[in-house]
C-alpha cells in the first residue's frame, strides 16, 4: 500500500517535471516560475486541509515567503523595477501578519 502511494506520487511529480522542463517550449525563467507556482499549490492544499489552526498559520507564512521569490523572478522576466518594491512590502506585511496570528492563537490581545 505504501509502495503504491509513493510510486504514484513519484510518477505524477516526475511526469509534471518532464512536461515542464522538456516538452514545454518557453524561456527558462517561465519554467522556473511554473515550479514555484506548483509549490504554492501544495501550500494551498495545506491551508485548506490543515487539521489545526496552527497548520494554516504556518502555511500562510510560508506562502508569503514563496511569493517574494516569485515576484523577484517576475521582475527579472519583465525587466520592470516595481516588482521588487512589491516584494519588500509583502515581506514586511507577511511578518506582521504572522505575529498577529500567533498572538491571536495564543489567546492574547493584539496590543498586549
Amino acid at each position: 500500500m505504501k509502495v503504491i502511494r509513493w510510486g504514484t506520487g513519484l510518477i505524477i511529480l516526475g511526469g509534471l517535471g518532464y512536461l515542464n522542463f522538456f516538452v514545454l517550449t518557453a524561456p527558462l525563467l517561465v519554467k522556473l516560475i511554473n515550479v514555484s507556482l506548483f509549490s504554492s499549490l501544495f501550500v494551498l492544499y495545506r491551508v485548506v486541509r490543515g487539521p489545526s489552526p496552527a497548520d494554516r498559520i504556518v502555511a500562510v507564512d510560508i506562502l508569503g515567503v514563496l511569493i517574494i521569490g516569485m515576484l523577484a523572478l517576475l521582475g527579472l522576466f519583465y525587466k520592470q523595477g516595481f516588482f521588487m518594491d512589491i516584494a519588500l512590502i509583502w515581506a514586511l506585511l507577511s511578518f506582521i501578519a504572522s505575529l498577529a496570528f500567533a498572538k491571536t492563537l495564543e489567546g492574547r490581545r493584539i496590543d498586549d
Binding site: 527558462l28 522556473l32 515550479v35 514555484s36 506548483f38 509549490s39 504554492s40 501544495f42 501550500v43 492544499y45 495545506r46 489545526s52 496552527a54 497548520d55 498559520i57 504556518v58 502555511a59 507564512d61 510560508i62 515567503v65 514563496l66 517574494i68 521569490g69 523577484a72 523572478l73 521582475g75 527579472l76 523595477g81 521588487m84 518594491d85 516584494a87 519588500l88 515581506a91 514586511l92 507577511s94 511578518f95 504572522s98 505575529l99 496570528f101 500567533a102 498572538k103 492563537l105 495564543e106 489567546g107
Partner: protein, 112 residues
C-alpha cells in the same frame, strides 16, 4: 557569461530548496515538524533565489533591493516561526504520536 551561469545556478538551487520545503510541509505528521522543515528550507531557498537575482542584475537598484529582501527574510522569518511554535504549544496542540521528548513542557513543569 560566467556571471550569467552563476546566477542561474543560484536560482536553480533556490527553487529546489523551495520545492523540498513545501514537500515537507505537505508530508510531515505534526505542526512542529512541518514548521521546522518548511521554515528552514523556504527561507534558505528564497534567500538563494534573491542572491541569484542580485548576481544576474549587478549593482543596479533592482539588485540592491534584492539584497535588502535577503536581509528582511533572514531577520523576520525565524522570529515569526518561533512565535508561531510557541503559540501552538501554549494553545495545547498535541505532538505527533511518535514523539520522544518535549523539553518545553518539562521546563514549564519544573518552573511552576
Amino acid at each position: 557569461m560566467i556571471r550569467h551561469i552563476a546566477g542561474t545556478v543560484f536560482i536553480f538551487l533556490g527553487i529546489a530548496f523551495d520545492f523540498l520545503g513545501v514537500l515537507g510541509l505537505v508530508r510531515l505528521p505534526d505542526v512542529y515538524n512541518r514548521l521546522q522543515a518548511a521554515t528552514k528550507c523556504v527561507t534558505f531557498g528564497t534567500a538563494g533565489l534573491l542572491l541569484g537575482v542580485f548576481i544576474l542584475e549587478g549593482f543596479t537598484s533592482f539588485g540592491f533591493k534584492a539584497l535588502l529582501g535577503i536581509a528582511f527574510v533572514f531577520l523576520s522569518s525565524p522570529v515569526a516561526a518561533h512565535a508561531i511554535s510557541r503559540a501552538a504549544h501554549r494553545s495545547g496542540i498535541p505532538l505527533a504520536a511518535g514523539s520522544v521528548v518535549d523539553m518545553y513542557k518539562a521546563d514549564q513543569d519544573t518552573k511552576s
